[in-house]
Symmetry: none
Subunit: 371 residues, 2 copies
DNA sequence: GACCCGTCTGAATCTAACC
DNA sequence: GGGTTAGATTCAGACGGGT
């Protein structure tokens, strides 16, 4: 990529850098000069359409998002809102600039379609796999354990920046994949008010922004966040030696972001080094081997002596007589033991020999390159 | 969910099950009866932005790749094609039916938007994390290591099927998350022609369909795949004891699918069962245990901490002070909770120990199985 | 200080059968 | 079809207090 700082005329006088601006995002963006931004990160309202109160099994109430800023009358209103701010975003982007947007299934398909329709060129969709998502309390869906980011260049012709080697280094010298495993923003990082309540319902973790900014910008590039909330994007940008412009409408969030930024210092330039990636523990559910046909449903397992037998069901449970349960539970049940490691207890037949279940897991670990 | 097989009039004579149909998907779908399908899996053509040559869904080549109008017209043509087949899909779906679509960032945002606009209700977006994705050779993007599935009900009011316990069992007794780690279709599973070349460019792994079908259908449900390719969906459906209707246009794929299905056998019905939903187990009224003397009238129940007490009345209600009601209502009343599961809330004394009420019910279920 | 245990919480479109 | 009620339903991680 030819950097803006090399290929373009000097910045217009009206672009003052490293500021958080208080106001409506589209209005404020209209006041910024065309082509002046290298990278945009945007975390717009999700239009969640939540219907009622949700309680955990222990009857405690989930403190969900019920703020007015997330409510839209219908898809049309949401689309119109997004076309407006994304059009402004495209005007502000340098011709080689890129944009990141984050969302969930409620809104990400609208965002992706509008990006494509406006002429952006999608480079990747990235999955933020949450280490500690909220469970599905009613057991009616899969646990919603991820959010999606779209990374797009201003146009198909953009010679965009991608710090390939930095991403590879961040991932133990393997190419960085499109699925990122990161924890939620909790603990001390989560900003709280004087009552100890979260200040913002959806504060993003700095680790996420760290990876985004490190991947797609250079030091001294200009990063814009039109919905900056409590200031995660400008905070990480500042720490990593990038310039920032951030916009926030809500006075509480705006004040919190100002205070937060005052405490952030830019890393010395010789320390803008990568942080090590957290590797996930590879855990392989037994059901995996039923799905992939290594142990198809109907297979008979036995214990080492061949005295106890059980049949594999399509969902990875074992069945013996009228009883059904996991490999561990059934091992315990049939031996009247308080507990049992099903991986080492059960055997299956392969090439006429009895093979311990755990062998499958070991083989799978060996084959598995990236967790 | 009330199954189609219980709540609906008999299938029209024209719905002949367990067939692969040769033809254009929309045309063939038009010939099938409304509301006759329980679940649809669709892997439509991705078709966009490939190798500088753009093709419309009808395979005609779009020229003028650099022309903005043609790009728009290409998205428009793709959208129009998808609105057509998704509208037919919605007509065919039973009111409580669900649909799965799979795609990549090239098309999944168009699909998601159209699904929402047509009135489908998204339940989850699922990320298929590929165990062995193709690396990014040019080092200009993140390794594209996943595809996205959208799971949606026909409408927000659909009482859709989700085999929660089976999915939990498949994942070592933890809720199944929205990110699935599965290998690509390779090796013996990959269909090849006489030259050893892969027969279909994007054959999906059976493990993916196993999870999809197990999660969202019952045995004997009807599964439709409008773009069945080499027949992965009908093959897994048949093995798992589901009915199928599959559509394929390309004669080579159609023939391969026919040959493949001829070799697939359905699992014996006693091996098809998965962990049942507790909701679907036979209900046992609490009063049963008062009648049969297991908990005679006059028995004192307490909560787990032993702080709240209530007395069992002859009709199976509980009495505390001036208040009387079901085990659930009294648990809710005494804790000021909006609701309460009395089975797990109340304890009684047996052999000097506090035993949860639900244990009685479990013992009764177990006894019922044996008899 | 180390460890255990109980408590709290997170972008959530979160019930279904019966009368 | 609407209202009522039975009863199904949670995982990881941070934090704080007690041993």
């Amino acid at each position: 990529m030819t950097s803006r700082h090399k290929s373009c005329p000097p910045l217009p006088a009206e672009l003052r850098l490293d500021r958080i601006l208080h106001g409506e995002c589209v209005e404020v963006m209209r006041g910024l000069p065309e082509g002046s931004i290298d990278c945009i990160f945007a975390d717009p309202p999700y239009n969640l359409q939540l219907r009622g109160e949700l309680r955990r099994p222990d009857e405690s109430v989930v403190d969900g998002v019920d703020d007015a800023w997330d409510k839209f009358s219908d898809y049309g209103a949401y689309d119109s809102f997004c076309r407006d701010w994304l059009s402004e975003a495209r005007r502000l982007l340098h011709k080689d600039g890129t944009i990141w947007v984050i969302g969930s299934y409620h809104n990400i398909f609208r965002l992706g379609t509008i990006l494509q329709d406006l002429g952006f060129w999608i480079l990747n969709d990235i999955v933020w796999r949450k280490a500690n998502p909220m469970p599905n309390f009613r057991g009616r869906r899969f646990t919603n354990a991820h959010e999606t980011l779209i990374w797009a260049a201003r146009s198909p012709e953009s010679r965009y920046r991608f710090n390939y080697q930095a991403m590879k280094a961040l991932n133990d010298d393997l190419q960085m994949r499109s699925d990122w495993y990161l924890p939620l923003c909790t603990g001390h990082e989560r900003l709280r008010n004087e009552h100890g309540l979260k200040l913002h319902p959806t504060q993003k973790p700095e680790s996420l922004l760290h990876r985004v900014i490190l991947a797609s910008t250079n030091a001294e590039d200009v990063v814009l966040d039109p919905f900056c909330g409590t200031g995660t994007t400008p905070a990480v940008a500042k720490r990593l030696g990038r310039h920032y412009i951030a916009i926030e409408r809500h006075p509480d969030y705006f004040r919190a972001a100002l205070a937060r930024l005052a405490l952030v210092e830019c890393l010395p330039s010789d320390q803008l080094a990568v942080t090590p990636a957290r590797r996930e523990q590879p855990r392989i559910p037994f059901g995996t081997f039923v799905e992939n046909g290594a142990l198809p449903a109907g297979t008979i397992l036995s214990d080492r002596q061949g005295r106890l037998k059980a049949c594999v069901a399509p969902d990875g449970t074992l069945v013996a007589g009228k009883q059904r349960g996991s490999i561990h539970k059934m091992g315990a049940l049939l031996t009247s033991a308080p507990s049992c490691n099903g991986w080492t207890f059960w055997y299956f037949e392969r090439d006429g020999k009895q093979v311990q279940l755990d062998v499958l897991r070991q083989e799978s670990h060996a084959a598995r390159q990236v967790s």
